[in-house]
Symmetry: C2
Amino acid sequence: MTFEWGDLFAGRISGMAASEIRELLKLIDRPEIISFAGGIPDPDLFPSAAMARAYEKIFQSNAGAGGALQYTISEGYTPLREWILGYMEGKGVRLGLDEVLVTSGSQQALDFIGKLLIGPGDLVAVTKPTYLGALQAFSPYEPRYVSIAMDDEGPVLADLEAALAARPKFLYLVPDFQNPNGVTVSADRREAIVALCAAAGVAIVEDAAYAELRYDGEALPSLAAIDAARNGGRPATVIHCGSFSKTVVPALRVGWVSAPRDVVNRLVLMKQAADLHTSTINQMVLHDVVSQIFEPHVKRLRVAYKERRDAMLAALDAHMPKGVTWTRPQGGMFVWIELAPGRCGVALLERAIKEANVAFVPGAAFFADRSGANTLRLSFSATKPDRIREGVRRIAGLLETVEA
Amino acid sequence: MTFEWGDLFAGRISGMAASEIRELLKLIDRPEIISFAGGIPDPDLFPSAAMARAYEKIFQSNAGAGGALQYTISEGYTPLREWILGYMEGKGVRLGLDEVLVTSGSQQALDFIGKLLIGPGDLVAVTKPTYLGALQAFSPYEPRYVSIAMDDEGPVLADLEAALAARPKFLYLVPDFQNPNGVTVSADRREAIVALCAAAGVAIVEDAAYAELRYDGEALPSLAAIDAARNGGRPATVIHCGSFSKTVVPALRVGWVSAPRDVVNRLVLMKQAADLHTSTINQMVLHDVVSQIFEPHVKRLRVAYKERRDAMLAALDAHMPKGVTWTRPQGGMFVWIELAPGRCGVALLERAIKEANVAFVPGAAFFADRSGANTLRLSFSATKPDRIREGVRRIAGLLETVEA
């Protein structure tokens, strides 16, 4: 070997450590582990029968199979984009066909948004905590982050105003049942955030991955809907990322991004450069499934996941020692635990795996500013209620030992 | 609207014009057009029956369906990576499982390689012409290009040596039946290229998308194989990109990249940040299909595409006016036409679509240095022989008119 690869690397991934989430996902395959680690849906709830029929239909038609297996346009399968237009219109956002791009999961939308908007050293505003996958998507484009504290209603407005004064390119936000902390931004706070960002000339990237998974209370307008309401029903300052990974299945890798035409035009060019297009057959199957069963299927998910959320909260109430606090999410997949100051989530995880066969994600990974060492993310979505109770009991037992 | 999106763009796509290939792909749907534009496989040759069975098998098993529809690891489906290991070993390259990453088509491998290796202003060596999709993948990372002239045996060595003296990060090369010009790099030239690049400390990115589609002569060792032979069978200085888009179907969006562990480790982190993983079910279906029918299926493709290549070359021999020259590819999907100096491929395309219902890609898009205005790329893969003859006759007729 006549050179060192390390000398050729451009340095964009210097900040990308191996992800704790990715490493921990590997634990899920060990059956003795009760895993609250992965933020993954329960495969027992996948609409497998509807999907099997959708594939069958495609292969029953020669022409259909040919089209489903061929290259397609970068923008995405037109009937699926039309379905998304209808869905978004139902939420108060009126889009043209050229204002929606189908992406390979909403993770890919985050990568493209980073590529489009972030120059080296640009400021990006995030909450603390925020979605780790967003930090991973944005960081190769070399931003600096400004982190905004959260309370029960979302980003603290005084912190947001301070962040906006520093002129970030955009604010990234998961308004519904945020991954990782389960917090939902209140209606008033949503209005204030859209108004403040617009006034400051700062774009908003809304990640709505969990929005459909609400178990209590009324659905709140998305930031995209508030933006549109201020602009005659049309998108103006918000880029909205949607996903079918939580409402249908993750493995098809289908999500979308909607935004004003100028933004989507450029994202389409990035899509073409990045992977030409999202799998044709996957888009067709997904379109068939959501056209047939989206609403009833999501209702079924809500019932199942609500039971698990309730089981986790009840077990936390029953078992957790004093000094430990947690969120009470109205939906989504996550409960967020705060240990006493000075406690370490990573150290607890090491013990949890070795001594108690239970896993979760230490919260520090979700902070751009490397704070949050005493926090944990617990996902309840892929675990049945009695396993949830047992897993929480085991974590509580470890904490009792630590406290002793 | 309180800001202009244009003020927020980071400028990475300033050089990314709307792709001629992408725009032209839209023409393929007009049945009256004979299109030589898209470099696409013929859907009539897709292994639809084998694929339908593969999907059926997955859905017949509850556990199988659950796994196929769930998130998976970023590295790719392990049995598929093992199949790729066996395939590459058959070509003389001994890889570990952590030296292969499954990507969403080889296009995505090119994007990741750009992200990994190209810093703003870094030099990248390409041939002229080169694959447009590679230029599109690399350009957002803001390289400068050095273009190397080609002859019938590949990159001209004197030009390559001059390019290497300027210390590019890597040489990008499609050694087999190159898209767009159909040229295959000779055996001696391959050895020389690997040795020269290694001596100069310059990596090679080998795009082997068309390697299996050989219609005449003997298969030549890949650059990865030559690299491995110099290094005890193991990868050293070559990153190899493979694709199932030409040998199976494009729509699953499955390809791979193989390279030394250090490189693949970083590409896996990029994969996770970019879209988490390639579609699980697509990888499983592809693995099933290639395990069952890869060799006989590729043989069938070779027979069908050889007939088309022969039909196109015979029609060019019969109809083209003097002053027009073209390549005689030993495989792949493309014949490359050079018009008399001063002729314009874009102008000819406009007339071809309006006056003759025939389409192709003007060659200038395939030159990083914006030369090649008098060249055309004709793809024969998706058109039946009598339509090929008719299409070539029409283009020749237009050229006669121009010459008159």
